[in-house]
């Protein structure tokens, strides 16, 4: 089984790009299963089902969607196996910039929107810097010079990744990405580990505290002045 984990900020074009890639995979007689993880709402799984691929939607609700997808990796792999798929494609919610959902044995694909400006690659952190493949979308909207600068900034953050320009509307670049998907190694996931630690959040807000006054805050707290302390029993 190949596992492809696709991450990227909301609206970057993950689903549109995947739709094109899946069509290329199908034309090469590969039948992936797709899982979309989101928090509140998503119609993306329906878009995948229209292509005739088995698709599953997971909503994490008030839980961190990346934690949620890690807890459910096993179920997702079983889903793909049950469908006799050679490949599991996992599209993550892409919400915060603190973690990277990739595991060591998956192919980690980061989809990033070039119209978000040339400082974005410096801001998004591990889901860019630990990716194997970076797909840049919406390059047709900006000048060639800005595209080249954006690419340069990505390579500054992740010098070993393979960068592909892709257009979610026309599908340009998706053929090349499909090649990356196909050349991913068939992994065993029994002893797989994350490439980067999951987001840090161990305080009472995590379990439902709503009061903002500082006297109620418990747990591992990090203050804006740089001091980090444990408050509580």
């Amino acid at each position: 089984m190949k596992m492809i984990i696709v991450a990227g900020t909301p609206g970057a074009g993950k689903t549109s790009v995947l739709v094109h890639i899946i069509k290329h995979l199908q034309s090469r007689d590969i039948h992936p299963s797709v899982v979309k993880i989101d928090c509140i709402y998503s119609e993306d799984a329906e878009r995948f089902k229209k292509l005739g691929v088995p698709a599953l939607l997971g909503l994490s609700k008030d839980m961190c969607p990346d934690h949620y997808s890690i807890y459910n990796t096993w179920e997702m792999l079983e889903f793909a196996e049950k469908n006799r798929s050679e490949m599991l494609i996992l599209e993550t919610a892409g919400l915060c910039h603190r973690c990277a959902p990739y595991t060591q044995n998956c192919l980690g694909v980061c989809v990033i929107d070039s119209t978000s400006g040339p400082n974005t690659p410096r801001k998004v952190g591990p889901f860019l810097s630990s990716a194997d493949v970076v797909a840049i979308t919406k390059g047709d909207i900006i000048s060639q010079a800005e595209r080249e600068i954006f690419r340069e900034r990505i390579l500054e953050m992740n010098p070993t990744c393979s960068v592909t320009d892709v257009n979610g509307l026309t599908g340009y670049g998706s053929y090349e990405l499909a090649d990356h998907f196909l050349s991913a190694t068939d992994g065993s996931f029994d002893n797989d580990t994350l490439r980067h630690t999951a987001p840090f959040s161990v305080c009472t807000l995590c379990v439902g505290e709503m009061r903002v006054n500082r006297k109620y805050h418990r747990g591992l707290l990090r203050k804006i002045n740089g001091i980090q302390e444990y408050t509580g029993e």
Partner: protein, 260 residues
């Protein structure tokens, strides 16, 4: 960068999935070709196929060869090895940085000495009314200033043997000067245009229809003569434009056309 003797475009499919009528176009060093057609006819897609050196991997399934061969993936992607400079239709920058930061960063991408940024500003300011300053914010430039800076940046920093120019007549910059700046000697130049004066100064033109290359027309000797006359009309119109822009009034029409 390697010398480019020729570029060949093999036709693919039009918007209706039918083979485009022009199956092959080959251009040699020094050729200038126009790309014309109604809006939505596929001009910009053709330009983007060329920019990406498509290998039957875009919607149109066109294939582009340089010197009769497929360039390596690195030559197609790495800006330091790129053989193609493109002035797209974009009228504004979106990168949040100063003009200086932008030009320094771009000259680094293209492996150029950063001192050339002063040439870029100087050239850009020849094309636009209000001068651009190095400390200006890129996103705050006007449409004309952005366009002028894009032209100068493509001409100097992205300096390449193949140049793609998409609607240079937009945004009210000095189009003839801009075209001269972009078209050095011995380059292969593609010009997308709606402007008859520019279209007839090219050696041949591709007519686009329904997303496909529909016809290839060589500029006739007569068209070249007409092009010269049109140039006079155009110059007259541009002079009027400058007069009106600078607050002067126009007393009478002084255009004499003997040959028309």
């Amino acid at each position: 960068m390697k010398t480019i003797e020729s570029i060949t475009i093999y036709g693919g499919l039009n918007k209706n999935g039918i083979q485009e009528r022009v199956r092959k176009i080959e251009l040699k060093k020094g050729d200038i070709i126009g790309i014309v057609g109604p809006t939505g006819s596929g001009k910009s897609s053709l330009v983007s196929d060329i920019e990406q050196i498509a290998q039957e991997d875009t919607n149109t399934l066109r294939k582009v060869l340089i010197n009769h061969a497929t360039p390596s993936l690195k030559e197609r992607r790495d800006p330091r090895l790129k053989m193609i400079a493109q002035l797209s239709q974009n009228m504004n920058f979106i990168a949040d940085m100063t003009v200086e930061e932008f030009l320094i960063m771009h000259s680094k991408c293209r492996n150029k000495d950063k001192r050339i940024i002063h040439d870029v500003i100087e050239s850009a300011n020849l094309l636009t009314g209000e001068a651009i300053q190095l400390q200006d914010n890129l996103t705050a430039l006007s449409g004309g200033q952005s366009r002028a800076l894009m032209v100068a940046d493509v001409a100097i920093i992205s300096e390449s043997p193949i140049v793609l120019i998409d609607e240079i007549e937009n945004a009210g910059i000095r189009k003839h000067e801009a075209l001269d700046m972009l078209s050095g000697k011995g380059k292969i130049i593609f010009v997308v245009t709606h402007d008859p004066v520019i279209a007839l100064t090219t050696g041949k033109r591709i007519i686009m229809k329904d997303g496909g290359m529909d016809e290839l027309i060589n500029t006739s000797a007569q068209e070249s003569v007409i092009s010269c006359d049109l140039g006079l009309i155009d110059q007259y119109m541009l002079n009027l434009r400058e007069l009106i822009r600078t607050g002067q009034t126009i007393e009478q029409l002084e255009l004499q056309l003997t040959n028309v």
